[in-house]
């Protein structure tokens, strides 16, 4: 794709700005800032990837992957406001997921151990794990609040905090997995995944693109389950005080 062709894509931005002005939506400033940010961020990533893909040593990728996990954990932690220490717990859950996926993919030689594959698949895995962690925390917050009576009834009968919150954890893990499982059921029919579409546009054989997409879909399903379960086990105590009382997050 030539730079001139890329420049022409600004027409789409022009259309959006025009609609915003015409309909008095007041979004022009946000659209322009968003356009500049998206272009600069993607260009910068392109340059970094260009440099990274030339390297022969996978160890060089480690700081990049750690940075990706840190940003993902920090972002998902926004869903767990009031739970102190949630960010590093999410970080561990995502890191464990990434480690499991990479060990399997590289160990079984499913993908080549080159930066192109490692960085691209890590990006997708970490991004998916971040979304799953956010969904899990959202669901837990809602469920714990609506199940206060149930949790305190169990505590009043001498239950441990794990026993008292077990049902909420189970429901939240389930809820966080549903979008991934639904996506797996409808992939290729309702939606053509971005990675597969990208490969086909870039000239790859569609069957080859499909094989990689199958890999990603299956890896996403297990990474979603692993992230959600690890996060639930690492975080359930945060909903309680040291005296085993259920916190009121809104009041803290």
């Amino acid at each position: 794709m030539s730079l001139t062709a890329v420049a022409f894509t600004l027409l789409f931005v022009g259309i959006t700005v025009f609609v915003s002005m015409r309909q008095k939506l007041g979004l022009e400033r946000d659209i322009i800032i968003g356009t500049i940010r998206a272009a600069v961020q993607l260009m910068a990533v392109g340059l970094v990837l260009q440099a990274v893909f030339r390297t022969e040593h996978l160890a060089v990728l480690l700081p990049i992957i750690i940075a990706m996990i840190a940003v993902a954990a920090w972002h998902a932690a926004g869903r767990g406001k009031g739970l102190s220490g949630i960010a590093w717990r999410i970080g561990i859950a995502i890191a464990a997921t990434e480690a499991m996926i990479m060990l399997l993919l590289l160990g079984l030689h499913i993908i080549a151990s080159t930066p192109q594959y490692v960085i691209s698949i890590s990006g997708m895995t970490i991004g998916n794990a971040m979304v799953v962690a956010g969904l899990f925390l959202n669901q837990m917050k809602r469920d714990v609040e609506s199940s206060r009576g149930e949790i305190e009834t169990l505590l009043a009968l001498g239950a441990s905090v794990r026993q008292a919150i077990q049902l909420c954890m189970k429901r939240a893990v389930k809820a966080s997995l549903i979008p991934t499982i639904d996506g797996m059921k409808t992939v290729g029919i309702v939606q053509l995944p971005g990675m597969m579409t990208g490969m086909i546009i870039a000239g790859a054989d569609p069957m080859q693109a499909v094989r990689y997409q199958i890999l990603i879909v299956f890896a996403f399903t297990s990474s979603a389950a692993v992230t959600s379960i690890i996060l639930s086990l690492l975080s359930y105590k945060l909903w309680f005080t040291e005296a085993m009382q259920l916190r009121r997050l809104g009041n803290e």
Binding site: G149, T153, L155, A243, L246
Partner: protein, 243 residues
Amino acid sequence: MGILAFANLSKTLPGGRTLFSSISAAIDEPESVALLAPSGHGKSTLLRILALLDTASGGEVLLESKASSGWHPQAWRKKASYVAQQSVMLPGTVADNLHTFSRLHETPFDEAEATRLMKAAGLSSMDWAKEAETLSGGEKQRVALVRSLLAKPSVLLLDEVTASLDEHSKEAVEKLLLTVGSEAKPALVWVTHDMEQARRVSTRTWFMADGAFTACETALFFRRPPTEAAERFLQRQASEAGP
């Protein structure tokens, strides 16, 4: 050995309002105590503190003469069991609810005792396989009480457990609680707004108003209110109850 006691107990809400300050009382035998106070004066909070479901701002709570700091909260709650106004049925059947304590603590389920308690609660004909969520409010509250009684607590903390019940269910709950546990009768602390019920079920009364606390025999409390606040409270309750 005292069953339950609190000494110099205070509670200040996050907004700075003091619910009660430096209050003390003790239950030394399995008696029945009515905890009375105007709305919003900290009855439920005190009960939750006694169940270690809430934290006091100062002072200490003791169970079997040992301060709460020396107890594991789980061990404490097995002995001092709290029952909320709105009974919560746990997911599953009536039997699942009745088995809760034995399941949580991996102890054998005492079926004979459960049957006896259900009978005492007026629920002898209830199908245990019924989904607990489908029960009426009165049935739920009675099943919740039987569930708590199966833990054989030494004190039962009752937070307006009959407030939303009809007369028949209220009577059944009172009968259950006053006749239960012939071998090891639990002490009862009843939070109630029903003065007639307080007279019927308690031998002693704790009264809280404006941060102050008094304890006296129930008969004496109603015959000769110990403070002006208690007198005003009883007059207001009488006028609200109507002729």
